[in-house]
């Protein structure tokens, strides 16, 4: 029982981190119907930027977000304007896979040149500290990451719900033509929305770098997990991504501890297959556009 509870605590904290990482992917799909397979690489880029700020300037990864987030936002806007804007609506979902895959490989190549391929870790003073309560231990870094995840997700929710930009994004998601008729600059909204989704990679990367060792190739494994999460949660649904990420975190952790590590990933995929058979739109996915 002790191991089970401990595994649940670990799983929830890890799931929170994955929720943050998957949120950008859900947003990109929700806003622009872009399956951004470069999100994993962008998170790793965020991890490297945080790592550099920490090792070179001593800037804590969470404080460093003040610098990294705007940079990633601008990068996202630029990527959208240069690569994704050119895609026609009717082929956007399919072609975005190819385009963003090319972006991912480009980022990986640049990172390999700049940092080489050896693994890095952002080792802060609290990276390996734990709180011990009632015989259980709670990782400080993962708790910070968990809190940061929900702060960022809360901000994202607030932007979407209460700002003009958010209203524009939601209008574009629901009906781009009607939004354009009502004066919404959907092209600009798309660019800003994509920028926002990439900006989440800054926080996700900072957190990833503290919790896991990483190298430029880490994005392959990461993106497969993130895609699984947003499919389970429902493509384009932020809430669904959060629930699916927490579910994945707990399932993997409990199965790894109680049964076998080999079964932990497998179990999640079994659930995913069942979901795809009986509810292909995912946990919270809408059958029509506008899920966000």
């Amino acid at each position: 029982m002790h191991i089970f509870v401990q595994a649940c605590i670990l799983g929830l904290l890890t799931g929170g981190v994955y929720a943050l990482m998957a949120s950008g992917l859900a947003l990109a799909f929700g806003v622009m119907r872009v399956i951004n397979v470069a999100q994993g690489a962008l998170i790793i880029l965020g991890a490297y930027l945080s790592y550099t700020l920490y090792t070179d300037l001593g800037l804590d990864p969470f404080v460093g977000l003040i610098v990294v987030t705007p940079l990633m936002f601008l990068l996202g806007v630029a990527l959208q304007l240069v690569f994704l804007r050119l895609l026609r609506d009717e082929e956007r979902e399919e072609l975005s896979l190819l385009v963003t895959w090319a972006i991912a490989l480009g980022i990986e190549g640049v990172l390999s040149l700049a940092y080489q391929t050896s693994y890095r870790s952002t080792i802060t003073g609290y990276a390996d500290k734990s709180w011990h309560m009632l015989g259980y231990h709670i990782s400080v870094a993962r708790s910070y990451a968990f809190i940061a995840s929900f702060v960022v997700l809360g901000l994202l929710f607030a932007i979407l719900r209460f700002t003009k930009l958010g209203r524009g994004i939601r209008a574009t998601v629901q009906n781009p033509t009607a939004a354009r008729l009502l004066g919404v600059d959907t092209r600009m909204i798309s660019a800003l929305g994509f920028g926002l989704s990439v900006a989440t990679a800054a926080a996700a990367g900072a957190v990833y770098g503290i919790v896991f060792p990483f190298n430029p190739g880490s994005h392959y494994d990461l993106i497969s997990r993130l895609l699984t999460i947003i499919v389970l949660g429902g493509l384009g649904s932020l809430g669904g991504a959060v629930v699916a990420a927490l579910f994945m975190g707990v399932t993997e952790s409990v199965f790894a501890a109680e049964f076998s590590p080999v079964w932990s990933s497998f179990t999640f995929f079994v659930v995913l297959i069942v979901m795809l058979v009986f509810r292909p739109e995912g946990l919270f996915g809408a059958r029509v556009r506008g899920a966000i």
Partner: protein, 406 residues
């Protein structure tokens, strides 16, 4: 008539002398032509970091040997091509080096993954394959007579020296229980399996054993399970990043075993402290094929040459560079002994006797698996030092393990 005959004789003689002179020049040019050695190395892709370290070792050796008269009076010329960490590209590279570039000899690439197929190609063309970094079981299973792994021991024997060290401890100081957590990898889990078999025979009870797949990013739940029975010894059949993750999970759980051994990852003097924190390395054991302080043949020359050319300190030298140098050193020795760089002669000669290198005194079975043992290394006061066997040790092994951060 006689005058004409004399003139003709003079012309023929002069022509003969001239031809002989030309032939002599050509012949002397031929003997002075450099020995071309072809190598495929990973300069990009997953193995680019170790690949570059191997390149440094090869180039350093070539520069040193050329500055000292070359091999059999001929300069050494390396032709190094990039394989992008891809076995298919490595095969293509060796094929091209042998059939198009007509290199005299080839040296091995980095990693068992690339060594196996590359050595197979070299064997097809009857080239000797001296290689620094392909010690996995699959390489020797190919049963190639031309292959020589220039390290003291095959990968799976990494833990042998640790178990030998435990046997030297009084019964009360030995671990009683052990947990094993290994990566599902041919270079990682077989090491832990071999150790478990040996340690079980010593009466050390296995309280937990698991193998995790390569895609396991978070090892925390596995470590939680491994430490639940409070084992005295934890053995990690690790590669690199999983060793870092295991250490971090142990620290977060606040569990400090009496003995901690990692097959790989913890034996990198540069990488390991930067991944787990300098204060957390002490007392962790691993295995190593080479140390800068080893009294092996030519080691001092290698270390001094390395620092002269690349800077740094002896303990920051990457093992891969030393392994590459040892390959060149071995070629030099066998060429001096046979007076030839003929591939078949090299293969036949290396299969007999013991060969001194900076990796130790090496000998091989029929398929290139070395017959020696690795060194047991331990992190002592923030430095990775050989601690066993005693004749190579720079410090005494410390047990039980000091606390984390200590």
């Amino acid at each position: 008539m006689a005058k004409r005959m004399i003139a003709l004789f003079a012309v023929v003689t002069a022509a003969a002398v001239l031809l002989a002179a030309i032939a002599g020049t050509a012949s002397s040019r031929r003997t002075a032509s450099p020995i071309k050695i072809g190598v495929s190395l990973s300069q990009s892709g997953d193995f680019s970091d170790p690949g570059k370290a191997v390149k440094r070792g090869y180039e350093l050796w070539a520069a040193y040997v050329n500055a000292h008269g070359g091999i059999l009076g001929r300069q050494v010329q390396l032709k190094i091509v990039d394989d992008a960490s891809n076995p298919n590209q490595a095969v293509t590279n060796y094929q091209t080096l042998i059939t198009r570039d007509h290199v005299d000899l080839v040296f091995g690439p980095f990693s068992s993954l690339l060594t196996g197929p590359s050595a197979t190609i070299a064997n097809r063309y009857h080239y000797a394959f001296l290689e620094p970094a392909g010690g996995g079981p699959k390489v020797f299973a190919l049963k190639l007579p031309n292959l020589f792994f220039v390290q003291p021991a095959p990968v799976v024997k990494c833990g042998d020296t640790f178990t030998a060290y435990l046997k030297t401890l009084p019964a009360g100081a030995r671990p009683k229980t052990a947990s094993y957590a290994s990566l599902d990898d041919p270079f990682a889990s077989p090491i832990a399996d071999a150790m478990q078999a040996q340690l079980s025979k010593m009466g050390i009870k296995t309280v937990y054993k698991t193998i995790y797949p390569a895609e396991t990013t978070d090892l925390t739940p596995i470590v939680e399970k491994a430490i639940a029975p409070k084992p005295d010894l934890i053995v990690g059949g690790t590669q690199s990043v999983d060793a870092y993750s295991q250490v971090k999970a142990l620290i977060q759980a606040g569990y400090n075993p009496k003995f901690l051994f990692y097959a790989n990852g913890a034996n990198s003097p540069v990488e390991f402290p930067s991944k787990v924190g300098k204060g957390n390395v002490n007392g962790i054991f691993s295995c190593s094929d080479w140390t800068p302080t080893s009294p092996s043949t030519g080691n001092k020359v290698f270390v001094s040459q390395y620092i002269k050319r690349y800077g740094g300190t002896p303990f920051k030298i990457d093992n891969n560079s030393a392994e590459a140098w040892a390959v060149g050193q071995l070629l030099q020795t066998v060429a001096a002994k046979t007076g030839s760089i003929d591939n078949q002669k090299i293969i036949t000669t290396l299969h007999k006797g013991v060969w001194p290198t900076i990796e130790g005194n090496l000998s091989w079975d029929a398929y290139g698996a070395p017959s020696g043992n690795d060194l047991l290394v331990e992190w002592v006061n923030g430095r990775l030092l050989p601690v066993f066997p005693a004749n190579f040790a720079l410090a005494k092994p410390t047990s039980p393990k000091p606390p984390w951060g200590g």
